[in-house]
């Protein structure tokens, strides 16, 4: 039976205090803070972070299908999943698709990946991420959050079996955004709450429990994500679910992460699950999807490198002004520097493994790792005796650094670091998610996949260093 083999998650480093928004705009503040993708992140880069973490926990057979779910794909036309797959160094021989359009896209993608496994794929991956915008003064500007989750599905070595699933799809109007629009429109919220989210979630969960022949008391953990969180209370009341078993909606710490949210909540809940536990997962959009997981004994030994809890604690603030600049909601004076050129297609294809996967080379003759990949060894000058050598998961230390106040950045100063990798290899790259005063020679860093800039509509993805993030709380 198909199930979850591994999972990973990602909460970006920056937090925006909701009171800071309220103070500037003179609106009421929602409690807590929200996670904010940095100026160099988007749904693709965050999905890569979560997927890399999930893949680390799933050695063995390679993935044969990938679904990337988001309501904020960086490209409207061009397969975003292909970028995610290249950065995560998935093999080329996979089926890949983007799943988008609805906050329910993440759970729908998870079910599609499970179907791929049921149909014979050894492993299938789903990566879900969102980086949603809302207009200043919209309540969603405060309640949204940015984040990602990823799951590797398979038929063997599963830590949570999918026992049953149920879906419903209805056409109704609550949240919509046309091509070219930055901010979504929403209908008056009582309508969707009473006529859509509450009845559809109630119906789909009731249907699921009937299929699986279980009662509310059999559910150890309940993960329900609804665009309007009040629908969750209504569903709990209608189905007589135990509110104490509801998973943390992460509202005060992260915010609602769109298509990723049910997945993010699930990855936050899974570490505490015990073998035999049943977990209900449901998400709503134009309809609802629900699935029932049963935790296996293998889960007792499984821990991803990064936990949601750990990433919630590993954070730094962003001001509302910077948030507005990062999202280009607030236009700013352009720098007196030329705009960057778009990266060129042929060189990108030639260096796909380097650019997207941070795969360098190692000289077979002398053993020296080097990046970018070389043909003539930097150490022994031997020609064409190189093997691929991945650097993305290796830690490194700062050898020296530079603050660049002349280079254009949405978060000046640009910090450049020269880093030496554990096991060999040196690289000069940008540093992100860091506080300038804490940069020092000898500090440990790790690599992260980022969007450096966008030129002529081409998003230029590459790797940066960041301070090593806390692994577990």
């Amino acid at each position: 039976m198909a199930g979850i083999v591994s999972y990973g998650s990602y909460i970006p480093y920056r937090r925006l205090k909701r009171s800071a928004i309220a103070q500037v705009l003179g609106v009421a503040a929602v409690k807590g803070e929200r996670a904010v993708a940095s100026f160099d992140e988007d749904s693709v880069s965050m999905a890569v972070e979560a997927l890399r973490d999930a893949l680390r926990g799933a050695p063995g057979p390679s993935v044969q299908a990938l679904v990337f779910a988001t309501t904020t794909p960086p490209y409207a036309e061009k397969l975003n999943a292909a970028i995610v797959g290249a950065a995560a160094q998935l093999p080329a021989e996979i089926r890949a698709a983007d799943s988008t359009g609805s906050s329910r896209a993440g759970i729908s993608a998870l079910l599609a990946a499970a179907d791929a496994v049921t149909a014979g794929a050894e492993r299938a991956a789903v990566a879900m991420a969102d980086c949603r915008l809302a207009a200043p003064e919209a309540r969603a500007e405060q309640t949204n959050g940015d984040g990602a989750a990823a799951f590797i599905l398979g038929a063997r070595d599963v830590i949570a079996e999918i026992e049953a699933s149920a879906s419903v799809t209805r056409e109704f109007l609550d949240t919509w955004r046309g091509p070219g629009e930055r901010f979504p429109h929403t209908w008056e919220e009582r309508f969707a709450l009473t006529q859509a989210y509450t009845p559809m979630l109630t119906g789909v969960i009731r249907n699921l429990m009937a299929k699986a022949k279980i009662a509310a008391s059999d559910l150890a953990r309940i993960v329900i994500d609804a665009p309007n969180p009040r629908a969750v209370d209504e569903v709990v009341r209608a189905l007589k679910l135990d509110p104490a078993r509801l998973a943390d909606p992460l509202a005060a710490t992260v915010g609602q992460t769109g298509a990723a949210h049910a997945g993010v909540m699930l990855t936050a809940a899974l570490p505490a699950a015990k073998p035999g536990d049943r977990i209900l997962v449901a998400g709503a959009g134009e309809g609802a999807d629900a699935l029932l997981l049963r935790v296996t004994p293998a889960a007792a030994h499984f821990r991803p490198r990064h936990s949601v809890g750990g990433m919630i604690e590993s954070k730094g603030e962003v001001s509302y002004a910077n948030y507005l600049k990062w999202r280009e909601i607030l236009p700013t004076e352009p720098p007196r520097r030329p705009d960057p050129d778009r990266p060129a297609a042929p060189p990108m294809l030639r260096s796909e493994r380097w650019k997207f996967g941070l795969v360098g080379s190692r000289c077979v003759a002398c053993g020296t790792p080097q990046l970018p990949p070389q043909r003539v060894c930097v150490k022994c000058r031997t020609r064409d005796q190189m093997e691929p050598y991945p650097f993305a998961d290796r830690s490194a230390r700062i050898a020296t650094f530079a603050f660049d106040r002349l280079a254009y950045s949405l978060n000046p100063p640009t910090i450049n670091v020269v880093i030496d990798f554990q096991g060999g290899g040196r690289f000069l790259c940008e540093m992100t998610d860091c506080e300038p005063e804490r940069i020092a020679i000898g500090e440990e860093v790790e690599m992260t996949f980022r969007r450096l800039f966008t030129a002529d509509g081409v998003h230029n993805y590459f790797w940066k260093a960041r301070p090593r993030r806390q692994e577990r709380p």
Binding site: P335, R336, R337, P338, P340, D341, R342, P343, A344, P346, P347, M348, R350, S351, W354, K355, Q370, L371, P372, Q374, V378, K379, A399, T400, F401, A402, F403, D404, R405, L406, A407, S409, P413, T414, N416, V418, D420, G424, G425, R426, F427, L428, C429, E430, I441, L452, N460, Y461, F462
Partner: protein, 393 residues
């Protein structure tokens, strides 16, 4: 590696140099015409006496950049580019051309017009690429030297800042005595130290001047030189080294040296027969693109033992009145840095100093001068070193 040199085989018989700075009223054509005609007049020759030209520039392309405004009558004009060492490279090519006997009279001329771009700092275009080449500006890439040098030699950041500020102070003091410099004003140490940060610890006053300008030299074989004038200067050494770019790839590189400079200085000293540069060199123009560069160069060129250049800086060893004046004309810092022209501007100061024409900044009886020109960044650069003298032998 054989590097035989052309000691005493080529002489410079005339030079020209425009003032460097913001030439809002002059085009590349104007600057080239001004520098070239000053050089013709300095050598006492007519334009048609020059057999071949080497034009150094980053921003303009092909020999037509020079032949068109000067109306050069169907002669060879080669455009050369080698980053910020472009001007020196054009001189090197012209010298080899006359030394080989292929031509009798050659001109090396460099030009750059940086102020027309509307951008801050230097802008270098890149060939179409995969978007992984990084986003580091020149001040930031040279600022990598500062924390590494300070840490290696035990200078706390304040002391380190004092040292690099004093280098800028010295160069401005020299430039204040030069009517062709971009900035002809002494700058108090405190203003240098407190100038707005560009790439910590570098402030704007640690950076060379972005400017427009042109400089030119006319070279002939040494045996012909006295036909043109009684006081030519002679090429003792020309060395040019391009590194394999190991710095950004090898953990062994520690950002306190330019191996390319060490190699080119060693080569040049061998060509010129110099054993102890600290004592034998009368003066030097070095590539002070940013103040930490000049600090590290002192050690790479053997002016100061490793780890001690900062003491020599503080002791005034490289001041105009010091034992080994460096950048007597103000350097890139105060004279300005129009890329293609800079290497020839350095040589222009040697031309003036060796012939006693440097006015208020004249060094007492110099015999051997040296120019050093660098392009690229720490760990991956090209380096040029020349030695010139006022007499043969």
């Amino acid at each position: 590696m054989a590097s035989n040199g052309i000691k005493d085989r080529v002489a410079i018989i005339g030079m020209g140099c425009t003032r460097f700075g913001e030439h809002w009223d002059k085009s590349v054509d104007d600057l080239l015409i001004d520098a070239a005609y000053e050089a013709y007049e300095s050598a006492g020759i007519a334009p048609e006496d020059v057999d071949a030209y080497w034009l150094g520039t980053m921003g303009s392309f092909s020999g037509l950049t020079l032949s068109t405004p000067l109306k050069i009558p169907y002669r060879p004009v080669t455009r050369v580019e080698n980053f910020c060492a472009t001007g020196s490279e054009s001189l090197r090519q012209a010298c080899y051309a006359v030394a080989s006997g292929a031509y009798d009279v050659a001109m090396a001329i460099g030009v750059e017009k940086l102020k027309d771009s509307g951008y801050s700092g230097l802008v270098v275009g890149q060939a179409p690429n995969d978007g992984t080449l990084g986003n580091i500006t020149p001040p930031a890439s040279f600022s990598l030297l500062a924390p590494a040098y300070f840490k290696k030699y035990g200078l706390d950041p304040e002391k380190g800042k004092d040292v690099i500020s004093r280098i800028a102070w010295k160069n401005h003091r020299n430039g204040a005595r030069n009517p062709k410099a971009q900035f002809q004003k002494e700058v108090p140490l405190e203003s240098i130290k407190n100038s707005p940060k560009v790439a910590d610890p570098l402030g704007i006053m640690d950076c060379s001047g972005v400017s427009d300008g042109s400089a030119a030299a006319i070279v002939v074989r040494a045996e012909d030189a006295l036909k043109y004038r009684k006081d030519p200067i002679y090429i003792k050494a020309l060395s040019f080294i391009a590194g394999p770019g190991e710095g950004p790839m090898s953990p062994e590189y520690d950002f306190t040296t330019f191996p390319e400079v060490v190699a080119s200085a060693k080569d040049a000293y061998a060509q010129a027969g110099i054993k102890n540069p600290r004592q034998e060199i009368s003066m030097a123009e070095v590539h002070d693109c940013f103040t930490p560069t000049e600090l590290v160069l002192y050690e790479d060129m053997g002016f100061s033992p490793r780890g001690t250049a900062w003491r020599d800086v503080m002791d005034g060893f490289f001041d105009l009145e010091g034992k080994l004046p460096v950048n007597p004309d103000g350097g890139l810092k105060s004279f300005g840095h129009p890329i293609g022209a800079s290497g020839l501007r350095m040589m222009y100061e040697m031309w003036l100093q060796l012939r006693g024409e440097a006015g208020p900044r004249q060094i007492d009886n110099p015999k051997l001068g040296m120019t050093h020109n660098l392009g690229g960044a720490p760990g991956r650069c090209v380096s040029f070193v020349s030695v010139v003298g006022r007499s043969l032998g």
